[in-house]
Structure formats: C-alpha cells, structure tokens
C-alpha cells in the first residue's frame, strides 16, 4: 500500500500552533496620530483638487477669447466676457471653498499645494486688467481679486506676472497676424500710452533689476522664468520688426482669408 493517500482524519489530528499575540503598548498613541494625520491629508487633498480645478479653468479654450480684443483701454466686449466671466466666477468659488482649510497656522502649511492655482489666476486677472487699462496690476489690486481669506504672497504675484508676459506675447503676435499692426489704446489718457512692445520691454527690464534673494520658492524659479520672459519679449520684438519690414509688401487693408466659406463671411465675423 505504498501509494495509499493519507486519510482526512489524520490531517485533523495535526497540532496547530497558536502563539499568543502580544498587543503593542503604543497602539493608543498611534491611533491619536492617525486621526491627526488623516485630517491633515484630507485638507491637503481638498486644496490640491481646488488648485487643479482653478488651473484647468484658467486654461480653458474660452480664455483665449481675450486674444480677440481689438483695442486696449476698454472694458472687455460682451461677446468675449460672456465666456470669460463665468470662468472667473467658477474660479472664485473654488478658491472660496478651501478658505476654511487655510486659516491660522495652516495658512502656509499647504502653500505648495495652492500656489499653482493662485499663480494661474493672477496671470488671468492681470492679463485682463492690462487689456482693459494697459497698466500692470499692482500687488494690492491683485490681492483684492482673491476671495477674503485667501492670502496672496509676493512670490505668487511675481511668478503670476512672469507668466502674464507669455500671455502678452501671444496676444501681441496674434493681434499683429490678424490686424497687421500693434493694438492701439483707446482710453481717456491716450497720449500718454506707449505700445505693448514697450510695456513688455519695461516689464523685462524691471524683472531684471530684481535680486530674488535666497528664499524659496521665488529664488528657485526666478532664473528660469526670467529666461522665458526674455524669449517672449524677443519674439514680439522680432514680430514687430518683421511686420514693419515685410508689411511693406502687403496691400493696404488686406486680411488673411481664414474663413473657408469666403471673404464676405469673414468680414462679418470680425466686426462687433
């Protein structure tokens, strides 16, 4: 009977070791820690999500409608603001929703989570402010744009302003490509206003005069942001040069025919 299998009752008789488990004396301490850390993680997740949503809202295709602005120094045209105003409302609501998580000692605790969203928002509102006034929004004006309880740091303001130079570059290039010239100012103090190119050059010069010091995060990002700003200004400088030189070849009043349905329709779309 060499091949005979073991009977089930034999296995049942095997002794099972049941070592007594000693309970850790530190479990109570760690339970307290768990509750604290869970609350901390929840706040951090809420803020991270709000910041990402703010960033997404700021980057919606509708935000590019502001490139269709035809003149500086005027309120945004209704056909554009009907797209952008709801976006700003959504953004303010998102920021408002995390105000309770950013109070007292926690004001700076989650700064690295909210900073991306705030910079995007500052970029958006300062760009709109420039379109309406052809003036760079000051720190206090920018802070007033945020819901009460959300603090604007000078780092977020400066980094947002850096990003805004990228928006100015895209606006200037788009405008020149569409209209064959730089945008004009139509506010009350018309005679005192320079061109968008001069403003960008002044912005670059002003940033180049700033010593970022040693305090994170501005010191860390300053050099790369400044490099990008320099590139933006040079693109517009080159664009203006090309417009002046090569623009001589273009018949007066000519426009690129971007509408596949014909020139007549294009004219209708362009007008307000």
């Amino acid at each position: 009977m060499a091949g005979m299998k073991r009977k089930p009752e034999d296995m049942a008789n095997e002794p099972a070791a049941t070592p007594e488990e000693t309970k850790s004396p530190f479990l109570h301490i760690f339970e307290t820690f768990r509750a604290e850390l869970d609350a901390h993680h929840d706040r951090r997740e809420n803020i991270t999500k709000a910041s990402r949503d703010v960033t997404a809202q700021s980057k919606l295709p509708g935000s590019h409608d502001e490139y269709r602005v035809r003149e500086l120094g005027k309120p945004i045209h209704p056909s554009i603001s009907k797209t952008t105003t709801p976006m700003y409302t959504t953004i303010r609501n998102l920021l408002q929703s995390v105000v309770p998580d950013l109070q007292s000692i926690n004001t700076y605790r989650y700064r690295d989570r909210i900073t991306g969203g705030i910079q995007e928002y500052i970029e958006a509102v300062s760009f709109q402010h420039y379109l309406e006034t052809q003036r760079i929004m000051s720190f206090h004006e920018a802070a007033a744009q945020l819901p009460e309880g959300i603090m604007l740091t000078y780092e977020d303001y400066a980094l947002g302003l850096f990003d805004m130079t990228g928006e100015l570059m895209r606006f200037a290039i788009t405008y020149m490509a569409t209209n064959g010239k730089l945008p004009t100012y139509s506010g009350d103090d018309k005679s005192s206003k320079s061109s968008i190119l001069t403003d960008m050059q002044d912005l670059r010069a002003a940033f180049e005069g700033v010593n970022p010091g040693k305090v994170y995060p501005l010191a860390k990002e300053f050099e790369s942001k400044l490099k990008t700003t320099r590139q933006s200004v040079e693109k517009v400088e080159n664009g203006v040069y090309q417009m002046i030189v090569r623009g001589k070849e273009r018949p007066k009043g000519w426009r690129p025919d971007t509408d596949t349905r014909g020139g007549g329709e294009s004219e209708a779309v362009e007008s307000y």
Partner: protein, 240 residues
C-alpha cells in the same frame, strides 16, 4: 507705416504702464524675508552643531559594553541634550514671530534629530519610548499646535524622528552581540516590532513619512535575523 514705427518709440507718461513702485516694493519684501531666513538660519546652525555632538556621543553605544553605558554615554548625552534644549528655546522664541509653516523647513531636520536623540537616550536608559508630550516638556516647547500659529513640534517630526531611532537600534542589535550582551537584541526586537505595529495603523500617503515607514520593515527583519541567530545557537539568556 510711419505710425507703427512711432508707436514703438512713444515715451511713457505720468501714469506708467509698468509702475516701478511694484518692483521696488517686491524687492523690499524679498530683502525682508531674506533677513528673516538669515536670522533663523544662524540659530539652527548652532542647534545643528550641538546635534552633531550629541550624535557623536550616542554613536559610542556601538562600542561601549552595556555595563559602562551610563557613565560613558548616557551622562554626557544628557548634558549635550540640555544644551540643545536651551538652543531650541532660543529658536522657539525667534521663530514664533513668523508663520510656522513658512519657515519650518529650515529647522525641521535638526529638530527631528533632537527628538530622535531624546528617544534613543530614554530607551537606552530605561527601555521606554518618550511620548510627544514628554518631548515637549523636555524641550520646553509646545507640541501639535492647531489653533495658534507658533513654534511647536509636529506629529510628523516626532514620527520621522522615531524612524531614525529605530534605524539606530537595528544597528545596535548585532553590535551588542559583539560586545557580549546577548539579551539586548531581544529587547530591541520587541521594542521595534511594537513601534512597527503602531506605524501599521497609520493611513500614510505618498510623502516622506511613508518612505521612511516603508524602510522600517527592513530594520525589523535585520533584528529578527539577529535574534534567530542567537536562539538557534542557544545563546539567548534564560530568565531566572
């Protein structure tokens, strides 16, 4: 296109488009914060130097027989920790003037080192784990503050310090055997397994605390191997 050319050269008027005041106040703010950082950094440098002295003293535990531990390690360690506590008090007074979480990255690691030294000292002295509250009393600073923006020791600091302490004890286990103390590894094994059980309760996210926690299991395994080697050869002293 003469107008276009003139446009680019037009001078700024009385209300400049790019206001220089924006950037001069930005620079003033940067300079102010750089000054704050320098002030705090100077105190933390002192704490850091003292921390290295304390750690140098505690390092002797790896080549000091257990019987001589009190005089050779624990007493000078307590003296060095007392000096660190005084520096921590100075740091607490200076740092409490500013937002805690804006600047705590400057002192975080050095504070964790102090807490870890306290944990290791107390375990070597009596086999106990000093609690977060006891750390606060010893250093004369608040702990786990939530409703006031002031200098304090955070839960994360305490837990991260604990991972460093466990790492040091796992190194001590084989060295204790080398020094002839066969009972020490068993004590270490029980202690770090208890702490590891506590860490298992936490719902850690992907941050530095989780990475440190993930390394704990290797320390537990290392000490278990030492205990196994001793028990296999019948070297673990029997209880009288």
């Amino acid at each position: 296109m003469a107008g276009d050319t003139a446009m680019t050269n037009e001078a700024a008027g009385p209300s400049p488009n790019v206001d220089p005041a924006i950037f001069s106040s930005l620079q003033a703010k940067i300079d102010q914060e750089t000054g704050i950082k320098d002030e705090l950094r100077a105190i933390v440098d002192t704490l850091s130097k003292q921390g290295r002295v304390t750690q140098s003293i505690l390092s002797r535990v790896h080549n000091t027989p257990t019987a001589e531990l009190e005089t050779a390690v624990l007493v000078p360690c307590a003296d060095s920790l007392a000096a660190q506590a005084a520096t921590v008090k100075t740091l607490a007074d200076a740092a409490s003037k500013y937002p805690f979480y804006k600047w705590n990255n400057i002192w975080q690691r050095d504070m964790q080192n102090v807490v870890s030294s306290l944990q290791l000292h107390d375990w070597l002295k009596g086999g106990n784990l000093i609690t977060l509250e006891e750390v606060g009393q010893r250093l004369n600073v608040p702990v786990n503050v939530k409703d006031e923006d002031t200098f304090h020791i955070t839960i994360e600091d305490y837990l991260l310090a604990l991972t460093y302490t466990i790492e040091e004890l796992s190194r001590l286990a084989p060295n204790a055997v080398t020094l002839g103390d066969y009972a020490r590894p068993l004590q270490i094994s029980r202690f770090i397994k208890d702490v590891h059980a506590g860490f298992q309760l936490l719902n850690l996210k992907n941050d530095i605390l989780r990475r440190r926690n993930d390394a704990l299991k290797y320390n537990v395994k290392k000490v278990e191997d030492v205990v196994y080697d001793l028990s296999l050869r019948g070297l673990i002293p029997k209880k009288e």
